[in-house]
């Protein structure tokens, strides 16, 4: 015991060296015991606690991800239908072909092993080289590219080709099966978007990128709706495809995307684009054109076009051939610079920038995304505000001296487009003549605050809320600027200059002007349908507010009709329909040439409503920068009004609005010549009366032997046909004369004397100021006698 105490007291080394050594060993073993038996385990326990308890969820998720193979059940993207259920966009199944480079390298090793062992299962096809050769033949992909993909043996997924059609995919599948390449070459479902109408309504549709995300247009705006939810089968799978003893499987149903039923009508859209294209060609329009057809009572958009367009099926391609060629040349020139020179890099950068901006431009929906200067079309807003506020009545009179009208708080005097002046005008005549000083006066009469409120109520300061992406608000004055000491902005606003609004803003404001004053929210998707065809949501017309009274609206309708019948828009007349509207010709306020001078580029526009006595549709058309070289007078009345008239004459009958012809319209209507051969004169008369045609007789006989024009040929109403009773009609060719610059009567005479029929379009008025400006068959063409030539007349006194 005593020794023990001494040991623990440890005051001094005691005992024999052996005892001391023993004690050292003992105490140090104790220390090791604590170290090895306890201390070492503390960090391990703490690390394990952290991994297994604290971070358990994270690691479990990662582990499951690691262990599972999910098979994606693709959800079909919804279809886009027009209002008559014509398919405008749909998806088809395609496949993605990809390699598993890791598996390929393992397979190569296995086969090498088999070869060395002389195994009869040895299959030399299971190699990167063979796969690359086979796939390059089937998929038309460079063999070396595939071999490079296969060389990344760390990876499990390398795409060889995307969007492979079913037929080709089947060939790949056969290739895999024949050569035991399962797991080395794989296929995956994908989808490809298809737009049956090509470029029609391209910007409205937008497109779907290769990753199946909608970009631009409806595809972008309704991407979530159209996409649906991809489903998946998730199964646990051992590495290298070994089977697991304990597996789990989860099945997530794929929910197909919903479909859109548009308010758009492909036929209307077609007519809209066709007539815009024709106008662009005829007036040599430099910067494209745009147009909107909208239901004035519901806000439904039936047509919306921006030219030049593009084909969503090939959205990267520059659709405009001229531009595309130009870009190709730029590319070729850049290539000539020689690689690795600075010039090459710069030219390539310039080319890439040019092609990118060309793409963005062709994808752009100018009807909602861009502001433009509305010009005189905005006078409808000014006048309706002035009338509704009571500042102006129908009985006001305005004096126009042409130039030098001075207004308080505006330095710059206002000139009228008609420099000699309009003299004294009534309110209606002021609109009909589109007289700028008169409108400036209206602005002064109603006052800046009142005018600004109407502009605000008409929705020009806000987005319309149309269900399309990238809507702009336009560019308008703040209330402070508008109502400030200077009235310059207020006065130029009265005739639509120095600000920008979007076409859709103007179309719905004009709709409100004619529909009784109700401002609507325009929309293009009428209904969202699920994959089974059940309605998910339905868009109903939304009235935001009443801007003007019913009475003001009625007055406006009358005055708008006056613009067409007796004003600047005589070319907007559509036989059988009552049309109202307003022309506009605006100078671009922000386009300068390289010397910093304001370029005299103009936007010619017309906004028309038909039938104006019972408004149904508003059609807005704008032509951006028509060229003088077209020989036509540049102006909304001369260029945009006939375009709208052409659209309306195509669209209105299609939309079920029957024409009501007045007596004076009859000669403006194109009839198809009936077959009268073999009939008696009395029978023929009945047939001809139905079509408002008269006749003269050549020769005598019981029944008609021949006729001019031949059956089925076009002929204007009220024309005189020739019936031959005992001889054949002459079959000679006649030369089409040059009608241009002739007035109506002279042109008519010219047609008759040349054995032709003339169909009048545009201003149907015998007046020295009304002259022929266009003929559909060029002068000098040889045509059969009795052919109809369409001649357009322009009223130069109307201007604008």
């Amino acid at each position: 015991m005593a020794r023990r105490f001494r040991r623990y007291a440890k005051k001094e080394p005691t005992g024999t060296p052996v005892e001391r050594a023993n004690r050292t060993t003992l105490s140090r073993t104790l220390i090791l015991m604590i170290l090895c038996g306890v201390v070492l385990f503390i960090p391990l326990i703490s690390v394990l606690y952290n991994l297994m308890i604290v971070e358990h969820d994270k690691y479990e998720e990662m582990a499951i991800h690691n262990q599972t193979r999910s098979m994606v059940l693709t959800a079909d993207r919804g279809v886009i239908y027009d209002r008559n259920m014509n398919i405008m966009a749909s998806s088809s199944t395609v496949e993605t072909i990809f390699l598993d480079p890791n598996a390929i390298s393992k397979a190569e090793e296995e086969e090498e092993q088999k070869r060395l062992e002389g195994d009869e299962d040895y299959n030399p096809d299971r190699s990167a080289i063979y796969i690359a050769k086979g796939l390059s033949e089937i998929l038309d992909v460079d063999m070396d590219t595939i071999r490079e993909l296969a060389a990344d043996t760390k990876y499990y997924y390398k795409v060889v080709k995307r969007k492979v059609p079913e037929e080709t995919a089947q060939k790949v599948r056969n290739f895999i099966n024949e050569h035991e390449l399962t797991g080395l070459v794989n296929l995956e479902m994908d989808s490809q978007r298809y737009y049956p109408y090509g470029s029609l309504a391209g910007q409205l549709m937008g497109f779907v990128r290769t990753d199946n995300v909608g970009a631009e247009g409806l595809e972008a705006y309704y991407d979530a709706t159209l996409t649906g939810n991809a489903g998946a089968i998730i199964t646990t799978k051992g590495n290298q495809n070994s089977e697991m003893l304990y597996t789990y499987e989860k099945y997530y149903d794929a929910a197909d995307g919903n479909s859109l039923v548009l308010t758009l009508d492909v036929t209307v859209q077609y007519y809209l684009e066709k007539n815009l294209e024709e106008a662009m060609a005829r007036y040599d329009v430099k910067n494209g054109a745009f147009g909107v057809v909208m239901d004035v009572n519901t806000g439904e958009i039936l047509g919306m076009a921006t030219l030049g367009s593009y084909d969503p099926n090939n959205y990267q391609e520059i659709y405009d051939e001229e531009l595309s060629l130009q870009l190709e040349q730029q590319y070729q020139q850049a290539l000539l610079m020689g690689k690795e020179t600075q010039a090459y890099t710069d030219s390539m950068a310039a080319y890439n920038a040019a092609i990118a901006s060309a793409r963005l431009r062709q994808w752009r929906n100018r009807c909602v995304s861009d502001g433009y200067e509305p010009g005189s079309t905005f006078k409808l807003i000014t006048l309706s505000a002035a009338l509704d506020s009571g500042a102006v009545t129908e009985n006001n009179s305005f004096v126009c001296n042409g130039t030098g009208h001075v207004y308080a708080n505006r330095d710059q005097p206002v000139d009228c487009w008609k420099l000699v002046g309009h003299g004294t005008l009534t309110t209606k005549e002021a609109l009909g003549a589109s007289c700028n000083p008169s409108f400036a006066t209206m602005g002064v009469l109603m006052g800046d605050k009142t005018f600004y409120n109407y502009i605000k109520n008409y929705g020009f300061l806000e987005r319309t809320g149309v269900d399309l992406p990238g809507e702009a608000t336009g560019l308008f004055f703040s209330e402070a600027d508008f109502c400030g000491v200077s009235q310059a902005s207020m006065i130029s606003t009265t005739f639509g200059q120095t600000f920008k609004i979007t076409p859709i803003q103007l179309a719905r404001a004009v709709a409100a002007v004619v529909n009784g004053g109700y401002l609507l929210e325009p929309y293009i998707v009428g209904e969202v349908m699920d994959a089974e065809g059940n309605t998910v949501t339905k868009n109903e017309p939304t009235v935001l507010r009443q801007v003007i009274s019913e009475e003001t609206s009625a007055t406006m309708r009358e005055m708008m009709e006056y613009v067409v019948t007796d004003g600047t828009a005589s070319k907007a007349k559509v036989p059988g329909y009552r049309v109202g509207g307003k022309t506009g010709t605006s100078e671009k306020m922000d386009v300068f040439d390289e010397f910093g001078k304001l370029v005299d580029d103009k936007i010619c526009s017309f906004v028309g409503v038909a039938p104006i006595n019972d408004p149904q549709y508003v059609v807005l058309v704008a032509l951006d920068t028509p060229s003088k070289e077209s020989n036509a007078m540049i102006g909304g009345g001369a260029m945009a009004a006939p375009t709208v008239a052409a659209i309306m004459s195509d669209v209105l009958p299609y939309l079920g609005i029957d024409p009501v012809y007045t007596e004076e319209d009859l000669n403006l209507i194109e009839y198809s010549m009936p077959d009268l051969i073999g009939l008696t004169e009395a029978e023929a008369k009945i047939e001809l009366d139905k079509k408002n045609l008269t006749y003269r007789v050549v020769g005598e006989g019981a029944t008609i032997m021949d006729q001019l024009p031949a059956a089925g040929a076009s002929i204007p109403g009220k024309s005189e046909v020739v019936l031959y009773f005992n001889q054949s009609a002459p079959t000679d060719l006649v030369t089409v004369p040059d009608f241009l610059t002739y007035n109506l009567n002279n042109a008519n005479y010219l047609a008759t004397t040349n054995g032709l029929y003339m169909l009048i379009t545009g201003a149907n008025k015998h007046d020295p100021n009304v002259t022929a400006t266009y003929q559909d068959i060029p002068a000098g063409t040889q045509v059969p006698r009795g052919t109809m030539v369409t001649v357009e007349f322009t009223d130069y006194s109307a201007g604008e």
Binding site: C36, G37, S242
Partner: protein, 390 residues
């Protein structure tokens, strides 16, 4: 008893040992039951877990899910037999055999570069026809025996610098031989065990400062300049920097451990063992244990190891003589280090080195050797009479 085995009072050494131990088969005292039960328990659990872990890989590679299990099970039974046999073998005999064992080990290790079996780019195995083993495993035991004997012989010389030189010489030879094998983990373990031995032997504490300094310099060089090691270090610091290659194994290991959670997926239900986790029945068996048995199971196994280690040291403390204490202490330290390094590596607490988990990892000869080592500790326990405490 003292008569039988001689006095230890003078030298702390069994004089009889030097004179020739008469008692070879020693059944005089009871073996330490807790130590033996813990060992057998761990072996049992280890074999079962090895079976579970190797289930998939055995099927894929060998065509039978029980392939590894059958072999390991056989070795475990044989190993327990060996353990019981060795426990009857008077440990004092090792005093005599210590230097020959060391010599034979060095001989084997010399053979390795000449006729060793190459595996994974390094020659570490010797195949003697009837048995194949890693001489480095034996070296671990040999150095414990050798140092124990040297300490007992050298009395207080170990406290001087000169007295330490023989230890440094022996260790240096073995380390040098391991350098040829590029066997870093063995170097680390043998150095650590050797250090523990001279620590228990009574070397002045300041020498440990020197040893730690050398180790620190080596660690620095290893971490920064050795290209072969650099990948492992990068993978250790951020396994996700190269998840497909250098980081792959540790990431798979962390997935397995982390997805275990509190209670685990259930015995046999590991998913990571399905060819995701490399070496899943070998060095990386513990992650499978974690995944299947959860935190609770992992803690239970760690607790069993801790108890075994503490009991091993308890036996060392209660050994009849210094040789016994040094033998038991050294073997137990070796066990503790292996467990620590293995679990440290699989949890990414330490950079990767190939160290197997005692009783769990697949490997017949290694298991035999481990159980033989446990047998030595048990034979020490037979003669526990608290002499050192006296």
């Amino acid at each position: 008893m003292k008569d039988a085995i001689g006095s230890v009072e003078n030298t702390g050494l069994p004089k009889e040992g030097r004179r020739r131990e008469r008692v070879i088969l020693d059944e005089r005292g009871m073996i330490d039951m807790p130590f033996m039960i813990l060992t057998i328990l761990l072996v049992g659990i280890g074999v079962i877990m090895m079976f579970s872990a190797s289930y998939a890989s055995a099927y894929i590679r060998e065509g039978s899910s029980t392939f590894y299990f059958a072999r390991q099970g056989g070795f475990a039974l044989a190993g327990i037999g060996v353990m019981l046999l060795v426990s009857r073998f008077n440990y004092l005999n090792w005093y005599r055999f210590a230097m020959p064992v060391l010599g034979v080990t060095v001989f084997f290790m010399l053979l390795v570069p000449i006729m060793g079996v190459e595996e994974g780019g390094a020659k570490r195995w010797l195949d003697l026809g009837f048995i194949s083993f890693q001489p480095s495993e034996i070296a671990k035991l040999a150095i414990i025996m050798g140092f124990a004997r040297m300490i007992c012989e050298s009395k207080d010389k170990i406290k001087t610098f000169k007295g330490l030189l023989p230890y440094a010489g022996v260790l240096g030879v073995i380390i040098l031989l391991l350098v040829f094998q590029r066997h870093l983990s063995a170097m680390v373990i043998i150095t650590a065990v050797a250090t523990a031995m001279i620590f228990m032997g009574g070397a002045k504490l300041r020498w440990f400062g020197l040893i730690f300094a050398v180790a620190a310099v080596f660690a620095f060089v290893y971490l920064n300049f050795m290209g072969y090691a650099a990948d492992r270090v990068i993978a250790w610091r951020d396994p996700w920097s190269d998840p497909q290659d250098t980081g792959f194994q540790i990431i798979q290991s962390l997935y397995a451990i982390g997805s275990g959670g509190l209670m685990g997926q259930g015995l046999g239900r590991s998913r990571q063992k399905y060819l995701y986790l490399p070496e899943e029945h070998n060095d990386y068996i513990f992650p499978v244990v974690c995944e299947e048995l959860g935190f609770v199971g992992a803690m239970l196994i760690i607790l069993l190891f801790m108890m075994l280690i503490l009991r091993g040291f308890w036996i060392a403390i209660h050994a009849k003589d210094r040789f016994g204490a040094l033998l038991a202490g050294g073997i137990t330290t070796l066990l503790a280090l292996q467990v620590f390094l293995n679990i440290g590596v699989v949890t990414n607490f330490l950079p990767a080195t190939g160290i197997s988990l005692p009783f769990f990892s697949y490997g017949g000869t290694a298991l035999l050797l481990q159980l033989a080592e446990m047998g030595i500790v048990l034979s020490v326990s037979r003669q526990c009479d608290n002499n050192l405490l006296a």
